[in-house]
């Protein structure tokens, strides 16, 4: 088990009353598996991912990474060294080329990165399907699918075991969507990563090893 959500409570305070997004939520995630968190819009699945990626903190409960509370690790440090995050709108830095975008987290992480960072970055991009000629382009000169591949390469750049993705295919066509899902499956099954994808698509959910359904703040699991 690499990641565990323990008795998570996350709510919005509305005067005297509380609107729960997650209530007493528990879940465990293992390396080498591809997980999906399925739910309708507003079901709280993005909030759950934000908690797992330490972009937000719960009111109560804990998230354990390799048996250690991420609060103790430190949210910034956890994001820096232990998790790769992929967003629906790619969130790449427009002033930088694809390879430079991949190089950014390498300079931020405290993880050990091979000396020749640039070669590693090119290789990563190539593995994800971005050839060198495209890797040297500014990211806003690339298509949506290519930008999302760059975002995946960036998430892998720090050699983390945990990949979290928020609706990663939301802006892509069906063909591109499948290509991205195939990459995630490959990362989980061939490279022993723990990949957790938030989605509202049943098709994607069906391809995962385990799906969590989130409805009215309650999480239920289906193998």
């Amino acid at each position: 088990m690499i990641l565990e959500a323990k008795d998570l409570n996350y709510y919005y305070q509305d005067g005297e009353s509380r609107r729960y997004i997650l209530k007493d939520t528990n879940a465990t995630f293992e390396k080498g598996k591809f997980y999906t968190i399925l739910g309708q819009s507003g079901s709280g699945k993005t909030s759950f991912l934000a908690l797992l990626s330490a972009l937000d903190s719960p009111q109560s409960g804990a998230i354990m990474f390799s048996g250690k509370d991420i609060k103790q690790i430190g949210y910034d440090k956890y994001r820096r060294n232990n998790v790769g995050i992929i967003f629906q709108s790619y969130n790449l830095i427009p002033a930088l080329t694809a390879v430079e975008n991949v190089l950014v987290p390498m300079s931020i992480t405290e993880n050990e990165i091979p000396e020749d960072k640039k070669t590693v970055a090119y290789n990563l991009l190539d593995y994800i399907g971005i050839v060198k000629s495209k890797a040297d382009r500014l990211v806003n000169k690339l298509s949506g699918g290519e930008q999302q591949r760059v975002a995946i390469a960036r998430a892998l750049a720090t050699n983390v075991e945990l990949i979290l993705a928020d609706e990663p295919t939301g802006n892509l066509d069906e063909e591109m969507e499948q290509e991205i899902i195939d990459i995630f499956k490959k990362l989980a099954h061939e490279h022993q990563k723990c990949v957790i994808v938030v989605t509202h698509s049943n098709e994607i959910a069906q391809q995962s090893d385990q799906t969590f359904h989130l409805k009215k703040g309650v999480l239920s699991s289906h193998e």
């Binding site: 993005t46 991912l49 934000a50 990626s53 972009l55 937000d56 910034d76 440090k77 956890y78 994001r79 820096r80 060294n81 995050i85 967003f87 969130n91 790449l92 830095i93 427009p94 002033a95 930088l96 430079e100 190089l103 950014v104 987290p105 390498m106 300079s107 931020i108 992480t109 500014l138 928020d166």
Partner: protein
């Protein structure tokens, strides 16, 4: 791809924004640079001129305070004389390098001609009444303070001995020009005449009552030190007047002057019974003007503080450097103006650069959120922005260093021309004892806007510090950023 490299890439890849920021910094930098240039130049003028003015001080009547008195106060006004013992007491203070007290009078001569300026040797000046061509200046400090303070220099012979001063020996030090004009040499004698006149009220004319000769031996010749040969300047009446008066000055012991003044007064009272009755048995007293030369300019204030309580009412200490305010008015006004410009420029820079940086940061909100979501430390994100702004600032400030200096030069030239014109049409004021040949023209001449290391250092310090402060304010924005709200 560390934060420094990211900053460099951000500057080079976002050229438009970098140029806008550069232009704003350049324009504001010019204002700061110009203002500092003028400040530096005026500061240098103050040092130079105060050095030129020297460390002399005197004690004299506070005419300004007396002028402010109303009629009733004026009626009751009784001015105490400056006691010779007090002058000596002040002279013994530790701040005083040496001191002198002097009394002077004017005498004429039938045997020697007075100096009337260059090219005027052949022209005979004809006038009625007492002849007062020569200023007999008494001294008590044997080496002659004017020569020690380099108002003039001894070019032949010697100065007085303490015995000659004490005994009032009939010996004199005269100017070289006066000696040449009258073919006098060291060791020669010349004769002055002390004429006593009475005023005839019936015809309004002076009437010669009696006279006596004063024979003096020339023991030394002096030459004024700061001789200005500039033809244009010698056309100006004031300088000529001062030079002529100094060339016709005859240094003698105070006792010689006192003796001549006493003779003149006693003889006059013989014919003016009214005045003699008013004087009664009162003794004729000598009036001395003291001159104290201080060790260093910094002693001026302490000397003034210590001396002022010792002085009789209505007297005050006047320092040579006090004249700075009156002769350096144009430069002082520029200094004041540039001070305001500097203050306004710094405030404007903080506000404008602050706003520009804040606008740029809002535009880059997503980029900053990405760094934070990747776990980058906020201090490094802040560092990246500071580096970006400071690199552009160094370029902008360096460019404005030169252009601002040029701007200051042209602004100063225009202002100085205007002030010089104004100055020429205004009446100039001079102090009696501490009269100086340092004029407003000297002040304006010593005003130079230059690119010296001091100016460069101060400008970089003020410029970069101002921009740093203006960048720090919008950086609070980064510290408060929530990556979740930006990214998801």
């Amino acid at each position: 791809m560390n934060f420094f490299k990211r900053a460099i890439l951000s500057i080079t890849r976002k050229k438009g924004k970098s140029i806008i920021l550069l232009a704003v910094i350049f324009i504001l930098g010019n204002l700061i640079s110009g203002a500092i240039s003028i400040q530096q130049a005026t500061g240098n003028v103050e040092t130079t001129i105060k050095e030129k003015l020297g460390t002399a001080a005197t004690v004299e009547l506070d005419y300004e305070a007396i002028e402010k008195m109303d009629e009733s106060e004026m009626m009751e006004l009784e001015i105490e004389e400056l006691d010779l013992e007090l002058i000596k007491q002040i002279g013994e203070l530790s701040y005083v390098k040496y001191y002198d007290f002097s009394t002077s009078t004017y005498l004429g001569s039938e045997t020697i001609k007075s100096y009337q300026g260059e090219g005027m040797e052949e022209e005979e000046v004809m006038y009625e009444g007492p002849s007062m061509d020569f200023m007999l200046k008494g001294i008590n400090h044997a080496p002659i303070i004017d020569l020690e303070e380099e108002k003039g220099k001894l070019v032949d012979g010697r100065v007085f001995t303490p015995e000659e001063v004490e005994n009032g020996a009939p010996v004199a030090v005269i100017s070289k020009k006066l000696a040449e004009l009258n073919n006098l040499h060291v060791g020669d004698n010349f004769t002055l005449i002390n004429e006593v006149y009475s005023f005839d009220e019936s015809n309004g004319e002076d009437k010669l009552v009696t006279s006596r000769d004063l024979v003096l031996e020339v023991i030394g010749l002096f030459e004024p030190k700061a001789v200005k040969n500039d033809a244009e300047e010698s056309e100006e009446g004031m300088y000529d007047f001062m030079d002529i008066e100094y060339q016709n000055t005859i240094y003698v012991a105070n006792e010689v002057v006192s003796s001549e003044m006493r003779y003149n007064m006693e003889e006059y009272m013989k014919v003016d019974e009214e005045m003699a009755a008013a004087m009664g048995e009162e003794e004729i007293t000598d009036y001395y003007t003291p001159l104290f030369v201080l060790n260093k300019p910094e002693d001026t204030e302490a000397f003034e503080e210590e001396v002022q309580p010792l002085l009789p009412q209505y007297y005050k200490v006047t320092n040579a450097s006090d004249q700075y305010d009156s002769i350096a008015a144009p430069v002082e006004s520029m200094s004041k103006l540039s001070g305001y410009v500097l203050l306004v420029a710094v405030i404007a820079t903080i506000l404008i650069i602050g706003l520009v940086v804040l606008l740029f940061l809002r535009d880059r909100k997503r980029e900053l959120g990405i760094y934070l979501s990747l776990g980058e430390r906020r201090s490094r994100v802040v560092g990246q922005i500071v580096i970006e702004v400071m690199i552009v600032a160094v370029i902008g400030i360096s460019l404005s260093l030169f252009s601002g200096n040029l701007l200051a030069q042209s602004v100063s030239d225009t202002m100085i021309d205007a002030e010089a014109e104004k100055q020429n049409s205004e009446e100039e004021m001079y102090y009696s004892e501490l009269q100086t040949d340092v004029t407003t023209d000297d002040v304006l001449e010593s005003y130079k806007v230059e690119l010296d290391p001091g100016y460069v250092g101060i400008f970089y310090l003020v410029g970069l510090l101002t921009i740093l402060v203006s960048t720090i304010i919008p950086l609070i924005y980064i510290v408060r950023l929530n990556p979740k709200k930006i990214m998801m």
